[in-house]
């Protein structure tokens, strides 16, 4: 009878341990967004244009936004968007900065360029935060042409746009339509009875 009780206890213990581990794993999920969904979001995210930044600063409705400056503290001290908080790019995930993201304001990342700010956005977006976005261009550009001295032609600046007519530079390159374009098409049919 004694071994029976022992066996039962061991069995029950094993089952409980498995359940505990599974439940704890379910709740300690690192990424909240699967990599598939994340890359689709990256392709679809518009970000905040400099035009919108100008409109926001002009109307004074800054309360709905929290600007996060990703540059180093000394540069931040020198100059930054009014009301912005400084979270250096390298400290993005630090526990002490988490509270900045946990509010109902839209968090707008900006940094020395759009690559930094959009990368920060992409990382945070894959974690729990769906209230984040990023500013087009970098701080220097926004400061010079939007905040200090508004120039409408910069309103639609986006680093991802082509700045040159690339084809012009590659004169002797054959045009893509002349090339034999190999179209790889795979049709996957799954299912059936």
């Amino acid at each position: 009878m004694k071994t029976n009780t022992l066996n039962n206890a061991a069995l029950a213990f094993t089952v409980i341990m498995v359940i505990v581990v599974i439940v704890s794993k379910l709740y300690s999920e690192d990424y909240d967004v699967t990599s598939e969904n994340a890359i689709e979001m990256a392709a679809g995210e518009e970000g905040m244009s400099l035009q919108e930044l100008y409109a926001t600063l002009q109307s004074g409705e800054k309360e709905q936004y929290l600007f996060v400056d990703l540059r180093k503290p000394d540069v931040f001290e020198y100059d930054h968007i009014k009301g912005a908080v400084n979270i250096p790019y390298s400290e993005l995930l630090a526990e002490k900065h988490r509270s900045a993201f946990d509010n109902d304001k839209t968090v707008v990342f900006y940094g020395k360029d759009e690559v930094n700010s959009s990368n920060a956005w992409f990382l945070l977006r894959q974690l729990n935060y769906d209230n984040v976005t990023y500013l087009h261009g970098g701080f220097a550009l926004a400061n010079k042409h939007i905040i200090k001295n508004y120039h409408p032609s910069y309103g639609h600046f986006k680093a991802g746009k082509p700045q040159y007519d690339f084809a012009k530079y590659f004169k002797k390159q054959e045009k893509p339509e002349k090339q034999e374009v190999e179209v790889k098409t795979t049709i996957e049919v799954s299912g059936g009875c």
Binding site: Y31, L123, A159, P162, Q163, K172
Partner: protein
Amino acid sequence: MGPLVPFGIIGSEFNFIIALVLGFFFGYILENAGFSSSRKLVGVFYGYDFVVLKVFFTAAITAMVGLIFFGYFGWIDLSVVYVNPLYLWPAIVGGAIMGVGFILGGFCPGTSMAAASIGRLDAMIFLVGILLGVFIFGENFGWLENFYTSSNYGSVKVFESLGISRGAFALLIIVIALVAFYITSGIQNKLSAKYATGVTPNNKAKIGIAVTAILILGVIAAVIPENKKAAFYEISSEELHEAMNDDSRYAGIDKVAFHLINPVQSTNVELIDVRSQDEFNKFSLPGAINIPLADLSSERVMDLLLEKSDDKKDLKIFYSNNNVLADKAWMHFRRLGHNDFYVMKGGLNHFVESIFHYDENQKPTNPIYQQAIFDYRFKKRASEYFQGMEREVKTSKGSSAPVIQNVEVSGGC
């Protein structure tokens, strides 16, 4: 983490030592379970003792549930675990021969070893039979070979053929096993009082708990999501952030320009244009393939980019108009644990600035700055090359641009 041998965590030499130790304990357990007695073994065919069936089912369920949980926790990559390929007809014929031998001799190969090692004469004669069989098979392999390798279906898995998940299949097997245990216990009790088994007042609670436990584990196995191969290698957000702070992912413009000018010398470079198809059609670097960012995660693209073979390009460089989109593509693959992807620094905008917008007047002349002079000369030649001033652009093998279209049709009834 695992599997330990294919990932090189356990060396292939040490592998054999582990096999020896495992084999020793396997034999020890077989002997202790009474499997060195042919009476016990063949009981399953005569219906008086089903312990063989119970042991094999129990072993299978333990391993199965264990592997599913290990896979879920990320301790083992189930897609690397070797599964014997199915040769349908040879397997049926071989199984029949083995079954006849089992009934005639009273042992299966493993148990005959265990029995022979404790000195049973019949098992030793059985072993001689095995060796004879091996010899005859080997001598006749020439004309048996065609049949031996026929009807190969590859490494098929039952749950895939049934179209259900791994976990659901495990639950199904558990239920089948429990029903089989119940029925065989009934048969056994009717046939002989000596081998009576099953539920008695003594072990009622014990069996009840065991059945409940295995059913709970089975249900959990059926409902937890299957860890995809991709998720197995996934790095944490901290690691990803650390990698983002490191600039080693950037491939310089010079490197890409060198590749474009000398495609024959740098065949290991693959340029991947992650911009939209429209932009790609307007202009693309020679030899680049176009995979718009949103298509990156499709299974087919992943297979294409991650395919490993000797002649595969191992320097895969993403580019877009600048770094923004290409960095996202890089982050996507870095998160999934791949570190052989690169980003063309500054994208096409920087390419133009760096190669074509060099200043004739700022030609470095001081021989102390040798590197600067080399860089200047390279840019000058590269820009002349791309603008076709000196020579024609060679039509390299890679200059046809494959466009990847993703057509997935899924359906069913």
